[in-house]
Amino acid sequence: MGQPPTKPPPGYRKTSLEERALKFDSGAPVTGAVAIGDAIASTFGDGTVRFFDPSEDAPAEVHAHNGVILCCAADRKHLLTGGDDGQFLRIAPDGTVDELANFGSKWVDCVAASNGLAACSSGRVAYIWTSGRSEATELEHSSTVGGLAFDAKGSRLAVAHYGGVTVWEQKKHRWKKSKLFWQGSHGAITFSPDGKFIVTAMQENALHGWRLRGKIDLAMTGYPSKAKSFAWAGKTPYLATSGGYEAICWPFDGPQGPMERPPLCVAQHGDNLATCVEAFPLLNAVFVGFQDGAVLVSELEDSKDVMALRGPTGIEVTAIAINQPQSHLLVGDAKGHLLWAPLKK
């Protein structure tokens, strides 16, 4: 692994985070990053998983998939991954790989985990594994699954697809469904922390939300590009989203959520589009990665102070993750460069 080949612009001074960061060039696009306890797991376009642990000098590498790792999620102390090789894997930081399912030539497009439940999707079917049972429950949908999310308790699974969302709720060991409709194609999906709202990223320049009580629609539009990344941040909480020229943060306090309220917009970076966001709970802040490689951090509540963490590199930020103790940050980009750094000096 060497240094990234791109040079910063003339006159550019390294940020203090860059001064103390470890930099890697993995050679394959970074497709995801997620905290696993103290460590952060990152996934790559060549099927590799790397675990970055603050107590280790170098990341632990696991050659997991024979192809692109399309999706990942933290499952307590393990990482769940889905790939274009049809494998759904559970990977331990010590390198142990368990194959939970193999769909052959079909891609595993989405994964999710919560409270001992693990889920993945391939084509139109979502599969749920309950801990201690080897057989998965199959949930079929009318079109390809674009996103999966459990609520915090693991009692509901929201599945995004064409034309809306199917919410599956576990009642007496059976999964019962209800539907939310909105025309278009729905991808990444999330429950609000209180479980009262569901939001999807669409294959258009918009997000769509529903307040579950009364199935009320929330259209979150006006983006100059697709809002592919989002994170719940701040005490309010806000749903911070990418896709704009700054992080567009929708307030979800109160019974109406963001209905008829303007979003909070933070961390503007010239005319660069935000491509990736991650919450920084310790400071009620949000990390924002941009298409030119820059990463900013902005507070969300009382003050809106912004600080540059990483300067422009010319390569789109595709992943940002903070570990659970909130001591270390990992940034990855579309060409496989990684920055791994302690947040405090």
């Binding site: 060549d46 692109v68 891609w107 674009g146 064409y162 194609s185 991808g187 294959q203």
Partner: protein, 323 residues
């Protein structure tokens, strides 16, 4: 921003049994030193086993953008985005459509979706036609006509099963629908791959090369074919404002019936050539530098579609001439 090279995407259409799978197997198995990914539909004629084959669902959805005929292939957006995350660069991607598919949503995906357009580009629409059955299929299924109408290349396959007169007749029928496609006669899809892939037919630069048969412009056509084509040429320069007003309204109101449109225009107030091409209501246009020395400086447009007679195209085009 660091510019990323766009991977060319070829759309392969054709009716069931025409020979698409034969062509795909050749593309995947021939020793050509290139890496091609193939996106096949779920209900393919026969299995193709290769780790660079991806199953697709042909999930067409309407955009919420107010454009009434703007349908795109959602599955394609997802799959192309996944393929672009590979560590190794692909040389090309081929999208096979089901026999009864309308090629428009595939093509429109490249006009409408920014992610798709930034990393990939539509290379050409290649239609495999069965020389034995095409004539009957054209009469029975509007999709067969659309596949011919959209084609940049028609592989007229199974020519060994039809006599010379029959081949000429079917070629004439193809020409009536689409006089601008390149027709390649084959028996088992054995065309050179470079006649099918890497054509860059949707590049505005390449529109300069299209030479429709203007002697036949305004030709009378038989009304047994639903889809027809029509072309016009003007030696008198056009007025840019008049043209944009007429053409914009035409695509807006009749875009559903206009399958493809292309043109090179000579505007009165500029020395640059202006080129455009459209798929239904969506259009790409650009100035393309000065007219080359010694070449005629005229305006040429072509339309392929339904009900072209009712659109007043000739009068509309004539009215764009500068005073």
């Amino acid at each position: 921003m660091v510019s990323t090279e766009q991977v060319p995407v070829t759309v392969l259409t054709g009716f069931l049994g025409a020979g698409k799978t034969t062509l795909l197997n050749r593309i995947l198995t021939e020793q050509h030193g290139h890496r091609y990914a193939v996106i096949v539909n779920e209900f393919g004629e026969e299995g193709i086993d290769n780790d660079l084959v991806v199953d697709a669902d042909e999930e067409v959805f309407e955009m919420n953008n107010g454009c009434i005929c703007c349908t795109v292939r959602g599955d394609l957006i997802r799959i192309l985005s996944g393929l672009m995350k590979r560590a190794d660069q692909l040389d090309a991607i081929i999208v096979e459509t089901t026999g009864l598919a309308d090629p428009a949503p595939v093509a429109q995906t490249f006009f409408v979706d920014d992610d798709v357009a930034s990393r990939t580009k539509l290379d050409a629409i290649v239609t495999v036609a069965d020389a034995v059955h095409l004539d009957a299929q054209l009469g029975e299924h509007h999709e067969a006509e659309e596949q011919i109408a959209f084609a940049d290349v028609v592989l007229l396959n199974k020519t060994d099963l039809v006599d010379a007169a029959g081949l000429d007749a079917v070629e004439t029928r193809i020409r009536k629908i689409n006089p601008y496609s390149k027709i390649i006669r084959t028996t088992r899809c054995e065309a050179e791959l470079n006649a099918v892939l890497g054509l860059d037919a949707f590049n505005l630069d390449r529109i300069m090369e299209f030479e429709p048969d203007f002697l036949e412009s305004d030709h009378a056509h038989d009304h047994d074919d639903d889809i027809t084509s029509i072309s016009f040429v003007s030696e008198i320069p056009l007025d840019i404002e008049k043209f944009q007003k007429w053409f914009g309204k035409l695509l807006q109101t009749r875009g559903q019936d206009i399958l493809r449109s292309k043109g090179i225009l000579n505007f009165s107030n500029t020395t640059d050539r202006y080129v455009f091409q459209g798929v239904h209501m969506l259009m790409d246009a650009s100035t393309m530098g000065a007219w080359p020395e010694g070449q005629p400086r005229n305006s040429r447009v072509v339309f392929i579609g339904r009900n072209l007679d009712s659109m007043g195209l000739k009068e509309g085009f004539e009215s764009c001439k500068a005073e």
